[in-house]
Amino acid sequence: MDLRFTSAQERFRAEVRSWLEANAPSASRGTGPLPSLDTAEGFEAHRAWERVMYDAHWSVVSWPEEVGGRGVGLLEWLIFEEEYYRAGAPTRVGQNGIFLLAPTLFEFGTPEQKARYLPAMASGEEIWCQGWSEPDAGSDLAAIRSRATLAGGTWVLNGQKTWCSRGAFADWIFGLFRSDPEAERHRGLTYFLVPMDSPGVTVRPIAQLDGETGFAEVFFEDVEVPAAQVLGGVGEGWKVAMATAGSERGLSLRSPARYTEAAARLVELYRRQVEADPAGAARQADAVARAVIDAEAYRLQTYWTVTRVLDGGGVGPEASMNKLFWSETDLAIHSTALALLGEQAEMLSDDSRPPPWLDGFLFALAGPIYAGTNEIQRNVVAERVLGLPRA
């Protein structure tokens, strides 16, 4: 065991840090913060930032060079993430693509698909959203009813997807459709890659708790999709989707840096509150420590997992434990910050937006719901890690 980074890794960290210091949008240089990515203007500003990163080969460091990355390892990716959050750089508008779809494409995509989709994803030229949930298929994902029928070598999609994050402005959607209505629930599903500007696609943006259109409903009416846009085999959609879900719950979507950075900010907020209102701060002291410790535990668990992966192991149902832990930790950090701020916490900024802690709290509230509710994760942990019988 050795918990030190190598000197090469420390140099990598220094390189990331100095590039971000010089290039990340920042208030001090008048280049930031960017407008909310859930507005049309903010979405394009975030897309432009993705391009800046891509041009300097920082947008997807762990991908192979031929698809836009640097070919560095998972540890370097974690270092990049730590520096990215430390710099307060913008939320990744392409996250559904680069963190969720990409690992699935690397595993199941054909060489042609990888070459076609990955570079445009890495540059922000094509931003993806996820089309899984339906009005009657949320936690019970296998109940999806949107259909795919084959007509003369072309697939025709019909149905409705909902809660598609970034769906209001995204360019492409990856979605699950029922290609065999006769098959048992989990079989007969196929994973499709679909341009959002295809004829027959209608998008209805949905405003979230902060009033902005962070997600959307997407309607499909006789949308034609070539067979080359099936990811994995026909009828293999559930298996492919579960690989994406593993990325979503496990390693890639929520790197620990998000939480350790928020925890560091929480400590600084606490430090200020100790000066301003010692008695009030003291009442939150235990909660502050708890949140900081949990953020650190998530970081260590990630290094533990990454070491196992680098040694040739895999990530299994324990991804569900990660999801439970990061979502609860995120909420704990932000709830504690709001408690420290007290009656000041509810107030909006001059631009009528929630200020950072309140914004982070609203975002954290979604964590126990998306990527499979925490109740579903607890079932997965109980059944697949502890071996308890299914209901």
């Binding site: 410790i293 535990a297 260590l300 079932n379 942990v381 109980a382």
Partner: protein, 349 residues
């Protein structure tokens, strides 16, 4: 960065697990708890033959000369096994103090005691004056004890023990009375403060390691019971109320574990944040074990509340060790104190 144990470390754990499955059954634990000692000298001897008691003892004294990072998996395994012997007290607390003891006194202590620890002839109990009683005291040959900020090493013949039976029958708690003298003094003053701080960190990490093993066992027992116990015509483990309790407890244990391992590494390497890491580890391990005990009892229902059922052997360990060497809240307060002692860090808005 390579956060994993090596094959030797894993193999040693496997050996201890195999040993405990045969030599430390619930019936064996009950027998130990019912005995005046609270533990078994023959089993301590057998652990010595495996090299377990001497893991931190230098090779020149017949030990393995390894560090806490090598001992941590054994401590965790001791918790999982419910091992009643004072392994933590001896290998993780007593031996490291003797290794650090300065001057001719330190040299004499090492010469006198370390080979006895390695060959299974002696155990060491360690305590401070703030404790109402010292664990592993009943049956110990050497006492490393603090009074008025000084650390003393006192052989069993020179102490008066008043046993203080506890809910956990293997605590072997006793009040320890002795007369301090120049002959017993190990360190005093500033040096003693450093010794005690290092002792506290090692104790927090090591107790955390045992707790993680205890918690793991409690959840395993409860999961097994939930598969077997049938109500409403189904195993109770098929009900979400039961599943969710167990999943939540398991998550807390799984995330406490790397914290304990990291603390063991930091203590072994002398990392400057070792105290922070030890407190983080103990706070998580104490809470994880307390939750595991509460959950395991609830899943078992009334049968788990009986003397007859073995669940009590691990629940009582969990409760005792969660409080020992600083409970979760105490260590959280220390974590915050240590973080605030750092210079303010500029953070992104």
């Amino acid at each position: 960065m390579h956060f994993a144990f090596d094959e030797d470390q894993l193999e040693f754990r496997a050996q201890l697990r195999a040993f405990a499955e045969k030599q430390c059954t619930p019936a064996d634990i009950r027998a130990a708890w019912a005995s005046p000692l609270g533990w078994s000298r023959p089993r301590w001897k057998a652990l010595a033959e495996m090299g377990v008691t001497g893991i931190t003892v230098p090779e020149e004294f017949g030990g393995m000369g390894l560090g806490l990072i090598d001992a941590v998996l054994l401590l965790e395994e001791a918790g999982r096994a419910g091992l009643p012997e004072p392994l933590l007290e001896t290998v993780a607390l007593g031996v490291p103090v003797l290794l650090d003891a300065p001057g001719p006194q330190g040299k004499a202590l090492r010469a006198r005691w370390l080979s006895s620890v390695a060959d299974g002839g002696a155990t060491i109990a360690v305590g401070t004056s703030s404790m109402p009683a010292v664990s592993g005291a009943v049956g110990a040959e050497l006492f490393v004890v603090e009074r008025d900020g000084e650390l003393h090493a006192v052989p069993a013949a020179a102490v008066a023990l008043t046993p203080r039976p506890a809910l956990d029958g293997s605590r072997s708690l006793a009040q320890v009375d002795w007369e301090p003298s120049p002959a017993t003094l190990v360190v005093s003053g500033f040096e003693a403060e450093e010794f005690l701080a290092a002792l506290g960190d090692r104790a927090a990490m090591s107790t955390g390691a045992v707790l993680v093993g205890v918690a793991d066992r409690l959840i395993a027992m409860a999961a097994q019971y939930a598969k077997e116990r049938v109500q409403f015509g189904k195993p109770i483990g098929s009900f979400q109320a039961v599943k969710h309790h167990l999943a939540d407890a398991l998550v807390r244990v799984e995330f406490a574990r790397p914290m304990v391992y990291r603390a063991a590494w930091s203590l072994t390497e002398g990392d400057r944040d070792a105290s922070l890491h030890a407190s983080m580890a103990k706070s998580m391990a104490s809470d994880a074990a307390t939750l595991a005990a509460r959950t395991a009892l609830q899943v078992h229902g009334a049968i788990g509340y009986t003397w007859e059922h073995d669940l009590q052997l691990w629940m009582k360990r969990a409760w005792a060790l969660a409080a020992a060497w600083g409970d979760a809240a105490t260590h959280r307060a220390r974590v915050l104190e240590l973080l605030l002692a750092r210079p303010p860090r500029p953070v992104a808005p």
